[in-house]
Point group: C2
């Protein structure tokens, strides 16, 4: 290999060497040398987003499915800022991302040009690691360190600030191309084994039988972890649940069911009330999504014992295997394995309802689909109905920041081009990052988007009452209502190159969904509720 | 007045008392008590945006035209993060904004719920003042302080974090409703007079006659300041220019012309080359927007003397008046007053070109129009052509972060409902905050949007060469090209309730522009280049 010509090329080579070969990008002037380097070096797939929230959300979705980091390319502080909300979601989901953020040339920063801002300060709240490269020769080591930091389990946000002159300056002939990758990367990716004490404590808690809950999160929600949990449940009689928001939850026929903890505080408290002991595997103690006057923030019974078997970055499969051994469950047939529901005799018809939509989605979901769920209020009906669908993964916004769904669908589709992605979107939430539709069209991704057009921030109507703020008057109602004017999702989608249909009846919804799921490529269905 | 029922009502009353009576909002659960308070207290105009960049950009545009702060209502750290890029622009433009950012109840923050983040850290890079309210009783004082901080000249970003329990807790009967407004607000808004020494130094520099440049920024670009600059120019022979990006530049017939410093480094260096002395009035020393290899970052001749008469927050009109006195120019007729161009004999016809469009815009611009210019590469032709148009204000993104135009148009239209707003948008830049079109439709704002559809990040093609990265290869070209698929702005606009037409010929453009400008209400023209 020829020595790298400049810092930008050195960085691209380092990223590729570290296995980072997808770049979600929205570049500007300060990133032009990185863009130019992509022409001279083979191997990096570049995916353009027209807004940075698409870029960072796509990187989140990519990691959840591919299991390794993509990089982003962002333009200075404001470009990074536009991507922060989905970095927040990625951080909470344990997704690894290498952000490459262009910066002015180092001696230009002091001049306080219009785009100058404190990029490291912008990055820090949503990053685990932030570093500014100081020279072209240092960038191979800096880039390798960024890959390494992003790869630490469960996956972390590493932000590398790349001053323009660091990118354009030639690298010295003697500079090492990639001093940290290889063995150190494998070491960084390794999940730490859990301590024997933790396994013993969890096994002790499981003697409580049906009064014990195994609450799963992170990688424990993939098939191997679920199966081990099912064996433990079969042996000990414990219950199995998953945290409410999940980075990636394996569900459907053939998998051990881990019903999600409910979102609403009262329902969650009720769901946890039977348990005296809760064993946490890759998740934290359950807490309310929001605080409400007079309601608890901690959802478990106050006298319940919480036992943490393993934190989200530890070896969860290993921990569950050790726990199964300790319980004598290793060879037991798992409990809670889901049977595929019989095909429906007839699909529901009539006016669109969440329950009717859920039944149709459950019946039509293809094998190994990836469901990205940002359906918010409409989606409450989907959990139970889809539990017996064909095997699939279910992805939700672990950080709770809306605008996550369409971008995550982009990244998931790029990570798994052979799998169908179904994005379930509220109309309010889809409007935060609608630009993702253009990337879906541009890359001809195999994504079906269903937008639930209730023409309101419907969830907030409930929340207004829930926080004790009373019934909404005319101004509050106006702030929660999106029907003046009604968004026309068919036009919006066509404006970005995605074919779309508007549906207001269940039979037509079934036809449209079967059509979209039955062929490859982008499609959008506006379901008017 | 009854005592406020809770902290949220106390805050709304305090804001109104401080003259803040417009709220640009995108609320969530943690803001529901603030929303409910708006129903119980008269006087706050609420404008909903479907994305937070619309909200903060609108507040920027509002301040530029109204001269007093609006407030924003944003949902926790991610909501604030989505608004940061336009807060960056507002901060650089000297626009005053009171951000109200909802936060979890104080005892819920420690539980690390999904939406928890360090809101103060997110706010700080783009805020001059950040504070978290700690009790319902403290919120009147906190809110008044926020208004005061936002009102300090030229206008500053004040971010008040409002924990949900602070909003919902009843205020004690004895708590003062608004301890800081009134006299202290007037004092905060006062612009400091410039020192006599600074006036003397500037007058001395002006003895250089034609070798001296008066470079204006901030409030000096309004008609009074320009007229004083024109008198000084008439008396001393100095030149007058404005900084490249301007918060609000008064232009057109009857005003003293202050041509904008060019954007490109070579052109700017050439424009400044004749001057041995540069007097800065409400602006900093001129610097390059970006750094380029082998080009200077400082644009003035290295041996030129830079004399700062007044910084952007000082009394610029007073400084220019004192300077005119010191030069004996107070009673002189101003130089450089623009004459209205004669009406064109015929409008240009044929294929759309930037020059042809510029000529038509210049001919059709109504009196007192507000032009929001985010036309990027297409807009380079507009400065000279529109100099002799009817009197108008010209607004640009002082922070250089794109996605500023449509939101700023929203805020400007709400600040001045009797004035036509013309938003000139590149297709690339308009895609960062397209949700503003929905707010324009919802509020039936008198905004005409022209989107220049060159279907590329055209500016970056030049920048790629400008930074010495060479000619773009296939992958770089792909990252700078937006024609796969082509954005359909007519569909996008209709999807958000704005009527739109597509134009590719100058005669038709003239007809469409006259139609849009000749009636009230929203319109969008897609100009395909």
């Amino acid at each position: 290999m020829n020595p790298p010509a400049n810092g930008a090329e050195s960085l691209v080579r380092t990223l590729l060497h570290g296995g980072v070969d997808v770049c979600f990008t929205n570049p500007g002037t300060s990133e032009m040398h990185f863009v130019a380097a992509l022409d001279r070096i083979e191997g990096m797939r570049c995916v353009l987003g027209l807004f940075e929230g698409v870029v960072t959300g796509a990187a989140d979705g990519y990691y959840r499915i591919a299991g390794r980091p993509a990089c982003t390319l962002l333009h200075l502080g404001p470009g990074l800022a536009n991507g922060l909300a989905n970095l927040h979601n990625a951080r909470k989901a344990g997704s690894g991302i290498v952000n490459v953020v262009g910066e002015h040339a180092l001696d230009h920063v002091a001049l306080d040009a219009p785009l100058t801002s404190d990029i490291e300060a912008v990055a820090r709240p949503m990053s685990h690691w932030v570093h500014t490269s100081r020279s072209a020769d240092a960038i191979a080591a800096d880039g390798a360190q960024a890959v390494l930091e992003a790869s630490r389990p469960p996956g972390r946000i590493a932000t590398l600030v790349l001053p323009a002159d660091t990118a354009w300056t030639p690298v010295s002939a003697g500079a090492a191309p990639d001093p940290l990758a290889g063995a150190r990367l494998a070491e960084a990716r390794r999940r730490a084994p859990v301590a024997a004490d933790a396994v013993r404590a969890a096994a002790q808690a499981l003697r409580g039988g049906a009064q014990t809950l195994l609450l799963l999160g992170g990688a424990a929600l993939q098939p191997a972890g679920l199966e081990l949990a099912g064996r433990i449940a079969a042996k000990t009689g414990c219950a199995v649940m998953s945290e409410f928001y999940t980075a990636r939850l394996a569900r459907g026929a053939g998998r051990v069911a881990a019903p999600r903890l409910p979102y609403a505080v009262d329902a969650a408290v009720k769901a946890l009330a039977p348990y005296r002991r809760i064993v946490l595997v890759g998740t934290n103690r359950p807490v309310g999504f929001f605080a409400y006057p007079g309601k608890p923030g901690l959802l478990a019974p106050p006298d319940a014992e919480l036992v943490s078997l393993a934190s989200v970055g530890e070896d969860l499969d290993g921990a569950l295997a050790a726990l199964a051994d300790a319980c004598g469950a290793a060879a037991v047939a798992p409990a809670g394995v889901v049977q595929r529901a019989a095909a429906p005799v007839s699909v529901p018809t009539g006016r669109l309802t969440p329950d009717g939509i859920a039944a149709i989605v459950a019946a039509r979901l293809p094998e190994q689909a990836i469901v990205v769920d940002e359906a918010v209020s409409t989606g409450r009906a989907f959990g139970a109905a889809t539990a017996t669908a064909a095997p699939h993964d279910w992805l939700t916004a672990m950080g709770g920041a809306i605008g996550f769904g369409l971008p995550v669908a982009v990244g998931a589709a790029i990570a798994a081009p052979q799998r169908k992605v179904l994005a379930l979107e509220g109309d309010g939430s889809a409007m935060y990052t609608p630009q993702a539709l253009w990337t879906i069209a541009r890359e001809q991704l195999d994504v079906t988007v269903v937008v639930f057009a209730n023409r309101a921030y419907q969830i907030l109507r409930g929340e207004l009452a829930g926080v004790g703020a009373g019934a909404p008057g005319p101004r509050a109602t106006d702030m929660l209502t999106l029907d003046r004017p009604a968004l026309d999702w068919v036009s919006l989608a066509r404006g970005m190159g995605v074919e779309a249909v508007r549906i207001d009846e269940l039979g037509a919804f079934d036809t449209a969904l079967r059509d979209a799921l039955g062929r490859r490529g982008p499609a959008l269905i506006e379901a008017v509720l």
